[in-house]
């Protein structure tokens, strides 16, 4: 009896071990011959919490763009690849970012993270760098500034970070684009929440450039949660500002725009450092008259006048916008995503092609540093060797639009210069 018991136990153990081995093999088994190989790209993104709208709004365009991109896919080493995006909610918090990064890196086994914009850079980078996962994010938040500026980015300890969207540099370029559009301005008003750091290194860098260019400006910060901007509007008006650029969230921008109109400062032009979500929201909050002339970022690459974009990528984005409109059942006008995840993905894809590998992240990073990439917002060379300690900062057209009627209309552009 005992002998039979032992035999059955050994057989069961063997079956279990073989089963586990089979599951492990199945996960890494290559796809059927003839079909593209899928590469997973992860994205920690705010899908819950107060920042969730900004994580959710781009979804229709994002899905549509990957659908269009994967029709052709891309080739490396004679093989065709597709991309699958895996999003994990990071709640726009450091804890959420770390958890999302761990899930993506250790659970989903991604080798690349892209499209990141939330305020948890250092938490995500702390996970991705030791794992040699390439992390494409943006500049701009205090911890994303270079260590030499007092930020936390250090190329020595974060060798796998790429700044695919130069938010900090773009904000500066946006200011110049504004002045270009309104050369008869009296004084430029600049406003941000204290959350971004009053007189932080980023702001000091911006002011240095504005001073060098002889631009007259006045700076204000508001407390987090402010809904009443009357005191700040009055201060801007008394400082002689007839052009104000707001770096806060959309709600704050809308309230500032509404209140300045109601206070009688109808000639005060107001812009925000981000694309318009949906013009109807601004009209609902500000009022249809107060919403006219509002200024925002504008990434409809078919409208750029100074930055040349590959016609293939223009067509891709227009097709994705069309699909997104079809799926949502209404016009899809949010252009912000064109400059973000698709642009990051194209940097990664072209770097893989240059490096001749989709796995060796060291070789891919080597191809990225200082390389030139053709993306949805133009062809740019990675720069920033002196400023950031590594040539990993991308460029931007810094395009702006203004609301006219029910549409966003191109206003101006001020392509960012390569960083030293």
């Amino acid at each position: 009896m005992k002998k039979w018991y032992n035999v059955v136990a050994i057989l069961m153990a063997t079956v279990i071990v073989l089963g586990i081995f089979a599951i492990g093999c199945a996960k890494t088994a290559p796809p059927q011959p003839g079909g593209p190989i899928t590469i997973n790209i992860g994205e920690p993104v705010a899908l819950s919490g107060s920042a969730a709208p900004w994580g959710q709004i781009p979804t229709p365009f994002r899905e549509a763009w990957f659908e269009v991109f994967n029709r052709e896919g891309f080739q490396v080493g004679g093989k065709t690849y597709n991309i699958k995006l895996i999003q994990v909610d990071d709640q726009n918090t450091p804890e959420g970012g770390a958890a999302a990064a761990k899930q993506l890196v250790f659970g989903d086994k991604v080798r690349f993270i892209a499209g990141h914009w939330t305020w948890n850079f250092s938490a995500v980078a702390a996970v991705t760098n030791p794992a040699k996962v390439i992390f494409v994010t943006r500049t701009g938040a205090p911890d994303q500034l270079p260590a030499s500026w007092g930020g936390l980015y250090d190329p020595k300890t974060m060798p796998y970070v790429v700044f695919g969207t130069p938010s900090q540099e773009e904000f500066t370029a946006d200011c110049f684009a504004l002045i270009k559009a309104y050369p008869n301005y009296k004084r430029l008003g600049l406003m941000d929440s204290v959350q971004s750091g009053v007189d932080s290194a980023g702001w000091r860098a911006l002011k240095k450039e504005l001073d060098a260019a002889g631009i007259r400006y006045h700076n204000e910060w508001f407390a987090v949660g402010t809904s009443d901007f009357t005191p700040y509007i009055t201060r801007f008006a008394e400082a002689g500002c007839n052009l104000v650029f707001v770096a806060g969230w959309v709600g704050e921008f809308m309230l500032f725009s509404k209140q300045r109109w109601e206070m009688g400062y109808k000639d005060m032009k107001v812009g925000c450092s981000g694309p318009f979500v949906d013009i109807n929201i601004y009209k609902a909050v500000c009022g249809p008259d107060a919403a006219q002339g509002l200024i925002g970022a504008y990434y409809d690459n078919s409208q750029f006048k100074e930055t040349k974009v590959n016609p293939k990528y223009i067509a891709q984005c227009q097709e994705a916008l069309r699909i997104a409109a079809e799926k949502t059942g209404k016009p899809y006008t949010y252009t912000g995503e064109i400059a973000w995840l698709p642009s990051h993905v194209l940097i990664l894809v072209q770097a893989m092609q240059k490096a001749g590998t989709v796995d060796d992240t060291d070789a891919i990073m080597k191809a990225i540093r200082g390389g030139t990439f053709d993306t949805t917002i133009g062809k740019w060379t990675m720069s920033g060797e002196k400023t950031y300690g590594s040539a990993v900062v991308f460029g931007s057209p810094a395009p702006l639009c203004t609301i006219q009627g029910d549409k966003e209309v191109y206003l101006s552009e001020y392509p960012t210069k390569p960083l030293p």
Partner: protein, 287 residues
């Protein structure tokens, strides 16, 4: 000297803080609790007004009344099924505090799921401005001032000229004696909670066209109304009104002079008041 628009802005801020604080103090004086979810009733009132107008086409004044009734009713349910149980023997204030804090996050989360997180606007309600020469004031803000006057007058009449008001005042002063005289303190608690939440809801509703409506809009008004009752005196209805007025003007004038530092200054002022006169301007001296 700040310009006129700052003083008018201060007056509008005062109106809202006064209304919110009044509702909080009313609840405190009968139930003996600070309702940490008070700001969320403000938020829910704003959403009721928003959807009453945009989805059902109900005129603004009626939408305001509906928000008071609906959210006041919700407040009564909260009192009946949560607060009443946690204030019974065997529990303590800590339980009620935790419960109302939990409700705060619950209502925010529920509103986020039900209504979405994107800001909503009601700019089409009372559009336009009154031009006063060197500055203008929106009709929406004028409506806030008128609304507050109506509310304060109504509350004065209810509390001083009606049997319900008499019962409320009696229960607030001497609950045991009041119950001996046949006043159902339990029922008064229910009514007061309903009134307090209705006031918060209508405050949120009247502000919905002025600001944006979103699930997190109740947090700052809650904190500010708490500051108002500390300034005015916890437990004093007069203190709530005076505290709200002082806070509203201070907030606007200090922000004009000191920008974002105004928040720091306001809280410092509250700490000083707590140290120097902890009962506030009109509260009963501490034993």
């Amino acid at each position: 000297m700040p310009p006129a628009e700052i003083w008018i802005d201060g007056l509008v801020q005062s109106c809202i803080y006064m209304t919110m604080a009044f509702g909080m103090v009313l609840v405190f004086s009968i139930l003996g609790i600070l309702n940490w979810a008070h700001g969320q009733f403000y938020m829910l009132g704003a959403f009721v007004v928003y959807y009453a107008i945009t989805a059902a086409g109900i005129p603004f004044p009626i939408s305001l009344l509906i928000s008071g009734v609906v959210v006041g009713g919700l407040g009564m349910l909260v009192e009946k099924f949560v607060i009443e149980r946690l204030t019974s023997p065997g529990y303590g204030m800590l339980y009620v505090t935790v419960a109302t804090l939990a409700l705060m996050f619950f209502f925010e989360g529920a509103a986020g799921m039900a209504f979405g997180l994107m800001d909503k606007g009601l700019s089409t309600v009372l559009p336009g401005v009154l031009d006063l020469g060197s500055f203008s004031v929106s009709y929406q803000k004028i409506a806030v001032i008128i609304f507050t006057l109506v509310i304060m007058i109504s509350m004065y009449i209810v509390l001083n000229r009606t049997k319900v008001g008499l019962a409320i005042r009696a229960a607030a002063q001497e609950p045991v004696a009041a119950s001996l005289y046949g006043i159902s303190v339990g029922r008064v608690s229910l009514i007061v909670m309903g009134i307090g939440c209705a006031l918060a809801a209508m405050a949120g509703g009247i502000m919905a066209p002025v600001y944006t409506t979103n699930p997190f809009m109740g947090r700052i008004p809650m904190i500010m109304s708490l500051l108002a009752i500390i300034i005015g005196g916890l437990g004093s209805l007069t203190g709530a009104i005076v505290g709200g007025i002082i806070l509203g003007f201070l907030n606007s004038v200090i922000a004009y002079h000191l920008s974002y530092v105004s928040e720091f200054v306001l809280f410092l002022l509250v700490i000083i008041i707590l140290l120097v006169r902890p009962q506030g301007l009109f509260g009963a001296p501490l034993k």
